[in-house]
Symmetry: C2
Subunit: 326 residues, 2 copies
């Protein structure tokens, strides 16, 4: 069955049928706007990301279900980086009229299973025809007490710089996918990232972090955002970068270049006072999540990279810029 | 200057510099998510719309500033249809790398002037490269007391059906634009609609309407949404449809077809108890806005169309469906 046979309103009804009610949703899918009840004492955290076929994803690499999961995950990762609990989301999707209905069924199944896992309810959005490829826009809303929200600003000289999980996997996975791989650890890190929602909330509620961001544009660029907004510098010890065995096997002669510049790992990068290192280790261990100290915040204005043995290292590439020339 | 020279983060800084602070925005553009403070006792109304080049707009018809205004207006119109006051919005925009920076400057100037007029603050979003045309996604947030929110459900048999302004202009304007016109009343109704924000809020706060929607897909289709969700039917008297002189001059032999099926007028279509007709007239007159009673809600399940003289009328076309066959 093609979308054109179902029609726009048939598609909306089909999506709506799979969405459960939630007490905070006064009015969900099907009116001009959704009506949401806020939790007293909490602020709303809101973020929006577009994903375009041919730019952010390639339908020859990923099945619809995985794409549905990732489209929500990248937004939940932004909420996690603020320490917010996901609550609601909206989905805008532009589809070629001739796309099979199975595409949308798979996409929604993936998106709604990820939503359920992380406690987010679909409340509205927009469906329209595309004359180009598939275009997706997700807006996600979360909540947290205002004094616990973790910003990019707030890092102080002397703070330790921490990162969850391993870095560089998603970029190495994209290289493998482009060379024809369709499965494996690295490909799955690129296609189906796990937003670190529980860790973001736990770190915020423990009040241990001074600044936080998710690694979407690459460690170096994302740490650069923290430094710029906090008015600080940083020293990274490359020997401490958490690298997976699969990444090490795939990364070639220089293991640091892609781990520093590769985006889309969706790990959390955050700063903490040195005295709280053990507490952070316990929080992450309790969630079964690796955490590594990779450097220190400095009073300078640059990011100093230190290779094993103490020699300075110059990154060949900084990170991802949508309009940049490389 | 091309976008590629400015870069993604330069573009974000350039947009941010033109956005004023607002007391309800704890954290605006530049972090992983924005942090918004809700007004106690109010619910959040949230809506999202995508606008795609070649589907929703044609850059040979419209200048960037007008496109910026319309991209926000269509979302504010959805908030107006709920009776909500606009508060915040997010903008996602995908741009070809070679687009001149002047495009984005004009687009943002139009969007931010419309935002200021209607009291909405830009708080975040996403910028990315497009390999196709320009793609825009706006998510708008408003507030209202929960008991005043106007839904599509709620119309009762015997209610009068009202519409603000005139209908069919935007569809007639699109026809003129496609025939080469670049200005005039009808073209401007298509390219630069005015969301009926003040009227939506005033009608909600007066508690006079039983159901409301904005005319985005066409009077017949949008009234159909009210009927379906309210479990009622309707009788429309075509002689009472408010038609502009310019529309009448352009519409050809049948003045009703396009007025019933043409979308994008962004007028408010709403139902009221018959006893409150004079009050609604005073509210709209106070805003300098025409309002017309065009029919009555019935206990049936269909929309009956009555031509002048009392004969039944069959609409040649229902309204806009993104995946439909016409």
């Amino acid at each position: 069955m093609k979308l054109a046979e179902l029609g726009e309103f048939g598609l909306i009804d089909r999506i709506k049928a799979n969405v459960a009610a939630s007490p905070s949703v006064l009015l969900g899918i099907g009116d001009d706007a959704a009506a949401l009840v806020s939790t007293p004492g909490q602020v709303t955290l809101i973020t929006s990301d577009m994903l375009l076929e041919g730019v952010h994803f390639d339908l020859s690499f990923c099945d619809p279900r995985t794409l549905g999961r990732k489209s929500l995950s990248v937004n939940l990762s932004d909420l996690a980086a603020m320490g917010a609990r996901p609550r609601h989301f909206l989905l805008g999707v532009a589809l070629p009229r001739e796309i099979p209905l199975e595409f949308m069924d798979g996409f929604m199944a993936g998106m709604l299973e990820q939503a359920e896992r992380f406690g987010a309810t679909l409340v509205g959005g927009d469906t329209c025809a595309s004359k180009g490829g598939v275009a997706i826009s997700v807006t996600a809303l979360g909540e947290q007490r205002p004094e616990l929200v973790l910003k990019r600003s707030g890092a102080r000289p002397g703070d330790l710089i921490c990162v969850t999980g391993t870095v560089g996997d998603a970029a190495a996975g994209l290289n493998e996918l482009m060379r024809g791989a369709r499965e494996g650890f690295l490909a799955s890190r690129q296609l189906d990232p796990t937003p670190r929602v529980e860790a973001g909330v736990a770190l915020a509620e423990a009040g241990v972090a001074s600044a936080m961001i998710d690694v979407s544009d690459g460690v170096l660029q994302d740490l650069g955002h923290i430094c710029e907004l906090s008015g600080v510098g940083a020293r990274l010890e490359l020997s401490r970068l958490p690298l997976s065995d699969e990444y090490r096997a795939a990364c070639g002669a220089d293991p640091y270049a892609l781990a520093l510049s590769g985006g889309e790992d969706y790990e959390l990068l955050f700063c903490i006072p040195a005295a709280r290192e053990a507490e952070v280790g316990r929080i992450c261990a309790g969630l079964g999540l690796r955490v590594s100290v990779i450097g220190e915040v400095t009073g300078g204005s640059t990011i100093e990279l230190v290779a094993p043995g103490g020699t300075p290292y110059t990154a060949p590439r900084r990170g991802f810029d949508h309009f940049g020339s490389d």
